[in-house]
């Protein structure tokens, strides 16, 4: 026996020699978890057969992701895949042995709601910090009430869910980021949810049902991104809000609303956004802002606003007025983007140039970068570009992208002719 040992030593055996070369197994725990977390869950679990040391390393990874990339099935049979998926997740959760900080479930074939309830119960017991739940198919999923007990939650992301927290729900004290898309939630619940999460910094809300008046009461909110159908939006107590992107996906009828309410939406919108830095007004939101009284300039200038993106119908007088008000109110604007929204009814060509007269100097004093897209070369579009070029002394780049090839040549010819206030200005024409 001893002879054999001596002879065997030089070969590759699990002896000292291997231990010297094995650099990876003794890396600190948190580094191993980082490495394993970056693997698809399948590879991470498989690491348990590598060697004695690796046997239970995977069981402590704090991050469990079950999505299309991690779990790929070649079969087409729906129920087969579903069963397999449920099995695998059950196994992993059962064999996992440590705190779970991040849980993501986003597989396109996942349907079983009772299974998800069970998994959420499991993770809610282990100080979960991030939950991403995306239900691709099937009807709205209602997360169980144990989800609302996760007081360590920092990030919650739901897709295609119905939110109905229990009555005793007092909010997520640590929640910093909330991302709700395709969700159903009532007005009260939404307001309560937002206001009861004092640490909330990021709020994303897309395609929601059930909320018509958005009241945002979030003292630490910095990032706000919504897109959907609503009637009203107002910010209470959002001093730190610096990034706002709002898209109103439905065309509102101006005349009807004017009669009812003469207050200025524009003024109300900006009254609580003193430090806004990036603003994106998408879809029909400018129309909403144009409702009511529109001043020539906001009383409090948005001095921090560097980046403005507006989706506008250049033929609409109210919208133009609102846009001009905005442009006058951000003296430090660096980048501007105008997206021309094609309207169904083509209004007759205006004889007057809306943008012609401007008695305010020092508009666009710092504007460097402009993008105009979706235009069709009609007078109203070109008037704006002309106005822009002649009033931006430090402009570096103007990018123009038409909506279609129709009238391209005319557009380009006109573009060529416009005077430029900035000698550095490059006018770049992009193909539609």
């Amino acid at each position: 026996m001893s002879i054999v040992i001596k002879q065997r030593e030089p070969s590759r055996l699990p002896s000292k020699t291997d231990a010297e070369f094995d650099r990876i197994s003794n890396l600190p725990g948190h580094v191993i978890y980082q490495i394993l977390s970056r693997l698809p869950i399948r590879d991470a679990v498989r690491s348990s057969v590598l060697s004695r040391k690796w046997r239970y390393k995977w069981a402590k990874i704090p991050c469990l992701v079950f999505d299309n990339h991690c779990l790929n099935f070649s079969s087409q049979d729906q129920s087969f895949i579903k069963n397999k998926l449920v099995n695998i997740i059950d196994h992993v959760l059962l064999l996992h042995n440590g705190p779970i900080h991040k849980f993501k479930l986003s597989h396109r074939d996942l349907l079983g709601v009772t299974d998800i309830d069970r998994w959420i119960l499991c993770i809610s017991r282990s100080s979960i910090k991030e939950v991403v739940l995306e239900i691709w198919k099937g009807q709205c999923y209602k997360p169980p009430s144990c989800l609302f007990n996760c007081q360590n939650l920092v990030h919650l992301e739901l897709f295609n869910c119905l939110l109905e927290p229990p009555l005793m729900f007092k909010g997520f004290k640590n929640l910093k980021s909330l991302d709700l898309q395709h969700i159903t939630i009532t007005q009260d619940v939404f307001e309560k949810l937002v206001s009861s999460c004092p640490s909330l910094e990021r709020l994303t809300l897309m395609n929601f049902t059930g909320v018509t008046h958005l009241v945002i009461d979030a003292p630490n909110l910095q990032f706000f991104d919504i897109g959907g159908i609503f009637e009203d939006v107002s910010f209470l107590n959002t001093v730190h809000l610096s990034y706002v992107s709002i898209g109103l996906y439905v065309n509102i009828d101006n005349e009807e609303n004017d009669a009812r309410d003469n207050s200025s939406k524009l003024l109300r919108f900006f009254v609580n956004l003193p430090h806004i830095r990036r603003l994106e007004i998408q879809s029909y939101f400018l129309k909403y802002l144009a409702m009511g009284y529109v001043p020539s300039r906001l009383p409090n200038l948005c001095v921090d606003l560097n980046h403005l993106s507006i989706c506008i119908d250049f033929d609409d007088l109210e919208e133009n007025t609102a846009a001009l008000c905005l442009l006058r109110s951000c003296p430090n604007l660096l980048e501007l983007e105008m997206l021309a929204r094609p309207e169904e009814q083509s209004s007759m060509e205006r004889s007057t140039n809306f943008w012609e007269e401007d008695h305010w100097s020092s508009l666009f004093a710092h504007l460097r970068l402009v993008k105009v897209s979706g235009i069709s070369g009609v007078k109203s579009d070109m008037d704006f570009i002309k106005f822009l070029l002649s009033n931006s002394p430090v402009l570096e780049q103007l990018t123009v992208k038409p909506a279609s090839q129709e009238g391209e040549w005319e557009l380009m010819k006109e573009l060529l002719r416009f005077r430029r206030a900035s000698i550095y200005a490059e006018v770049i024409y992009l193909d539609p």
Partner: protein
């Protein structure tokens, strides 16, 4: 690049330097802004006022040897410059990461001890990329991991799910095959010793390989103990014998054989006799029983044994080839009562297993 070189490049500028000492005693000077990019060094300088002179050199953690330090400083030197674009940084990172895995692991360790999180992220991503999609053997090869898990342990999670004897048979067959392949590989590597190795029992070799401290005698003893236990346990034995008898008559009987663990072992034992391979970790299934349990041997007709052998090895080879898929299937199979997922690229024998009756 030594500190002297660095001084020459910018002779006019009054640069301040930080003194660093690696675990081996080597002291070097590094530009302040480069060194301060590491949080740990930064902390030492600011909180403890170290590093200002040779005598007060900051002693770096043990995991940072001079080679790693130089790599880390290269990284810091590039990234601490504020004007670089994201694209530049990314492309630097891509090139920086290209090194053998051993150094990559060392670098990860060193960066972690200096709390340089971006570099730890970069290296762990690279390591994950290396690991992803590879088979356990490949990973062990790359990282020099010892294959020190017993076959049982490797497949333990599967056992948790159910006591399905078919899985156990599968596990054992697979384990046997893997051991066989490994052993062949190891034997190939040692040409000189080959002769002598053959003299020894393969048993002993395997027990040594697997870190088993017992010698062959010990194994024999335990085996005999096991045997005694088995003898006492009449019921199991008789059923085993019966099952094996059935097995002789028709291969379908193998299904019934599956129904008890020990019978399963005996089948394996029978099979094992034809190859040089023994699985020693598990006392339960070992070949030494074979010559002793002469009665069992007699039960199996040699010709039939050959046939069973072939079938089983075929089966095991198929397992071997698509292990990952097998793992997944088994995970799900364990829960399901229907045999649907168990079908392999079948020959008749395999399907037979699949169609067996449930308990």
């Amino acid at each position: 690049m030594s500190e002297v070189d660095m001084a020459v490049i910018k002779p006019e500028m009054m640069k301040s330097y930080i003194w660093l000492q690696t675990a081996d005693g080597l002291i070097q000077q590094v530009e302040q802004e480069v060194a301060m990019f590491c949080p740990m060094i930064c902390h030492e300088v600011i909180q403890k006022d170290m590093g200002s002179s040779k005598n007060y050199a900051i002693s770096l953690p043990q995991r940072v040897n001079p080679a790693m330090l130089s790599l880390i400083l290269d990284y810091c030197r590039f990234h601490q410059v504020p004007g670089r674009s994201n694209k530049e940084r990314k492309s630097f990172d891509e090139k920086f990461i290209r090194m053998d895995t051993k150094r990559l692991c060392e670098l990860t360790s060193a960066a972690d001890s200096l709390q340089l999180k971006p570099l730890v992220d970069l290296t762990s991503r690279a390591l994950a990329r290396i690991i992803e999609g590879k088979s356990p053997e490949e990973i062990r090869e790359i990282f020099h991991l010892p294959d020190d898990l017993t076959e049982e342990e490797k497949l333990e999670p599967l056992k948790n799910t159910t006591d399905d004897p078919r899985i156990r048979l599968l596990n054992r067959l697979y384990a046997k095959k893997r051991k066989e392949l490994q052993e062949r590989q190891k034997l190939k590597n040692i040409e000189v010793e080959e002769e002598r190795v053959d003299d020894r029992s393969v048993d002993d070799l395997l027990s040594f390989i697997n870190g088993d401290n017992g010698d062959s005698k010990g194994i024999k003893n335990s085996k005999s103990k096991k045997k005694n236990r088995r003898r006492k346990d009449q019921q199991k034995n008789t059923s085993a014998n019966e099952a094996i008898k059935n097995h002789n008559k028709e291969p379908n009987g193998l299904n019934q054989v599956c129904h008890s663990a020990e019978v399963g072992q005996k089948v394996r034992a029978g099979v094992g006799a034809t190859s040089n391979l023994h699985d020693v970790e598990d006392d339960i299934f070992d070949n030494k029983n074979e010559p002793d349990d002469g009665d069992i041997d007699d039960e199996i007709d040699p010709a039939l044994k050959e046939k069973i052998d072939r079938e089983v090895e075929d089966f095991a080879r198929r397992l071997n080839s698509d292990w990952p898929e097998r793992m997944q299937e088994i995970l799900s199979f364990g829960h399901e009562r229907k045999p649907v997922h168990f079908s392999l690229n079948g020959n008749g024998s395999l399907r037979r297993y699949a169609n067996s009756e449930q308990r």
